[in-house]
Structures are given as structure tokens and as C-alpha cells.
Amino acid sequence: MLIDWFTVAAQVVNFIILALLLRRFLYRPVAEAIAGRKKKIADELAAADAVRQDAFRVKASYEENYRQLEARREELLAAARQEADAEKALLMAEVRKETEEERHRLVRAFRDDRELIRHQISRMAREEVFSIARKALTDLASLDLEAYIFDEFLKHLGAPGALQEQQYRQMLVAGPQAVVVRTAFGLAPAQQKAASEALTRLLDAGPVTLSFEIRPELICGVEIQVNHHRLEWHISGYLHEIATIDID
């Protein structure tokens, strides 16, 4: 007999037992391991995806911040440009102003220098002219130049032109007061007397109180001050016009 029914029954039981054992020791652990690994991989993928999403969000945030910073930078640059332009304009105005002031200062300095030089030229010319003239007159004609100049001044006071006479009379508007006669040289008493008489006639205001002063800077001239008016008769004024014409 090929079939032993006890063996058949035993093999059925054996098979069932083997199936249960393998389910316990093989299929279930392997299935759980595979499922666990799949779950782990899925979790890691989900975590990676979450990290990726976070990275995208962070990236978007950084990009937004970058755009804002760019916009802010542009605003600041524009403001800085405006401020710089304003500052530049202000500085340029100040520079122009300072330049203009410097130019005026230089012009003034130049004019002052020119005046000084003119004055020096005038003074030197007067001194030279007078020195030469006096020496020439003394050496060649035995004449006293200063005495002649004073005499000529007295003649002028005695017979002034219409214009000078009107000018002289304006000196007396406030009434005759102290009259000062300044000369570069000392006047003899006769010359002082002649001067007093000439002035009395000219001013036509009664006796005039005279005082005499010596001023060497007048060189060889005469200067009379009545009130606040001054009558000059010396070479300085004469040469002043010449020097002005020459320099300009």
C-alpha cells in the first residue's frame, strides 16, 4: 500500500505546524522588517521633503529679504545721491562765495597795493622833482624855491579865479574860526604877516586868528585849513593827477 493514512494525517499536522512556525519565525519578522524599512524610508523621504519645503520657504524668505534690501539700498542710494547733490550744490555755492570773496579780497589788496605804490611813486616823484627843482634853481638862479612857492600862493590868494573864490567863501559858511596854515618849511615873520593879510582880505570876515604849523610831508607846499575845509597848494596834489593817469 503506497498510502499510509497515519503518515498522511501526521504530515498534515506537520505541515500545519511548519506553516505556523514559519509564519512566526520567517514571514512575520521579514514582513515587519520590510514594512519597517519601507516606513523608515517613507519617514526619511517625508522628513527630507519637509526639510526641502523648509529650505524652499527659507530660500523664498531670503529672496524676499534680498529684494527688500535691494529696494532699501536703492532708496538709500537715491537719498544719498540727492543729499550729495544738495551738498555738492551747497559746497559749490560756498566755494563760489569764498572764491568771490577771495577775488574781492585780492582785488582790494591789488588796489591797496596799487594805491600804496602810487602813493610811493607820487611821494618819490614829489621829492625828486622838488629836490631837482630846488637844487637847479639854487645852483643856476640863486633862488629860494619854497619862498617863491609861498609868494605864488599868496598871489593866488590875492587874485583867485571865479571858481576858486566861490570855493573859498564856502569855507566861511559856518563862520570864521581858527585858521591853520601848514607849511613844509618854517615861515619868516614877514611871510606870516603877508599870509595873515592875504587871508583876511580873502575871507572878508574881520581879523582872523592864524596858527602856523610845520609839516615836512608837504615837501614844498602850503596847506590852509579853515573849519573843515582845506586849501592845498603843494606839489603832491599836482602830481597825484599825473600818477593816476599814468597807472590807469
Binding site: N14, F15, L20, E32
Partner: protein, 221 residues
């Protein structure tokens, strides 16, 4: 020479006989269980997969795929039954390379027992899935006149399963034995190699047919 290892009896008490078939079956059971336990005792999803675990997982996945391709949608549910069928038959057949070994699948009692298990499994799974009445209706499909043929079919396919496996393994062993006596140096080796191939193919056929029987009953519904 004994045709079936059932005839090799080690111990008997009345009808209880511990024969070679049962002993080798227990040995295969211990071997399969022991190997499974050794490999899977430290298995953990967080641990790296060892080579042995990889082989087990490959077998596990392949069996699942085969069951799924045969038409069963939830292979994990059928794996303990169908996978055990395959592994047991493969181990029993492949072990024929060891001298003096008699495969339990060369016993008609074993193949009949396995076929009987399949015979029981088909209604078990289908009744569990669709209910008793619905399963009974499958015997009257496509019309009640087919009921006797369907019932006969259940028995004949069980018989065919058991005799196919038994015939192939038993004949292989007998041929090797005969060749050993005629030409002991060359042909038995070739036949043993053929026996390995035949054994694996028979295990595959048996398992696939069992899967198809279960799936067919389910689809008939």
C-alpha cells in the same frame, strides 16, 4: 528497494509508525525553522540588512510576487500557506543530493497530505473571503448541472497534485538507484542534477497550482 520511504519504519506502536517520511519531514521542519529563527532573531528595520537576511527577503518578495501574479490580490495573507508549501517541497527535493536521503515528497502519503491541505485551503480561504453560501454557489456555476463535475474536479485535482509530485520525485529516486547499480560513476550524478532541477520545478508547479486553485475559486465568484 522500497518505492516509498513510508516503508522504512524506525518505530511502531500499533497503527503509530515512525517511518522515514516523518523523520525527514521533522528534520526539514527543524532545519527551516532553525534557519529562519537564526536569521530573523536579530532582524530590525534600523539595522543594516545582512546577506542572509537579504536572501530571505528576496525569497519572501519573490513568493509574494508569484502569488500576486497568479491572481491573488493580498499575497501576504496566503504566504504562510503557499510559501510553506514551496519551501518545504523545495527543501525536501533538493536534499536528495545527500546520499542515503529519501525525500518525504517521494512518499504518496506526504504528497497526498499536501494535496489534502490544498483541498482544504481552497474552501477555507474562499469561505473566509466570500462566506459559506457564496462559496457553495461556485459549485453550481455556471449552472447547477455542473455541480457534480465541479465536485469531481475538486477531488481529481487533489489527486493529480499528489500523484504528480509523488511520481516525479519517486521516479527520479528510483532511476538514480537503478543507475547506481548499472553505471555508478557518471549517470547518477547527472540524474541527481536533473533531480535538483525537477525538484525545484515540481515545488514551483505544486505551489502555483495551489495558488491558481484558490484564485480560480475566488474568481468564479
Amino acid at each position: 528497494m522500497n518505492i516509498t520511504p513510508d516503508q522504512i519504519i524506525y518505530w511502531s506502536y500499533g497503527s503509530f509508525r515512525i517511518n522515514n517520511t516523518l523523520v525527514t519531514t521533522w528534520a526539514i521542519m527543524m532545519l527551516l525553522t532553525g534557519i529562519s529563527w537564526l536569521i530573523t532573531r536579530n532582524i530590525h528595520p534600523d539595522k543594516p540588512v545582512s546577506g542572509r537576511q537579504g536572501v530571505l527577503e528576496m525569497i519572501f518578495i519573490t513568493l509574494n510576487e508569484q502569488i500576486s501574479e497568479a491572481g491573488l490580490q493580498n499575497p501576504a495573507r496566503y504566504l504562510p500557506f503557499l510559501g510553506t508549501l514551496f519551501l518545504f517541497i523545495v527543501c525536501a527535493n533538493v536534499a536528495t543530493v545527500f546520499p542515503g536521503y529519501r525525500a518525504p515528497t517521494g512518499s504518496l502519503s506526504t504528497t497526498a497530505a499536501l494535496a489534502f491541505c490544498v483541498f482544504l485551503a481552497v474552501p477555507f480561504y474562499n469561505i473566509y473571503d466570500m462566506g459559506f453560501k457564496a462559496y457553495l454557489k461556485t459549485y453550481f456555476s455556471p449552472n447547477p448541472l455542473m455541480a457534480p463535475f465541479n465536485i469531481i474536479g475538486e477531488f481529481t485535482r487533489t489527486l493529480s497534485l499528489s500523484f504528480r509530485l509523488f511520481g516525479n520525485i519517486m521516479s527520479g529516486e528510483i532511476i538514480i538507484s537503478i543507475l547506481l547499480s548499472l553505471a555508478p560513476f557518471f549517470f547518477p550524478v547527472i540524474m541527481s542534477l536533473f533531480g535538483l532541477l525537477t525538484g525545484v520545478i515540481q515545488a514551483y508547479i505544486f505551489t502555483i497550482l495551489a495558488t491558481v486553485y484558490i484564485a480560480a475559486a475566488s474568481k468564479n465568484n
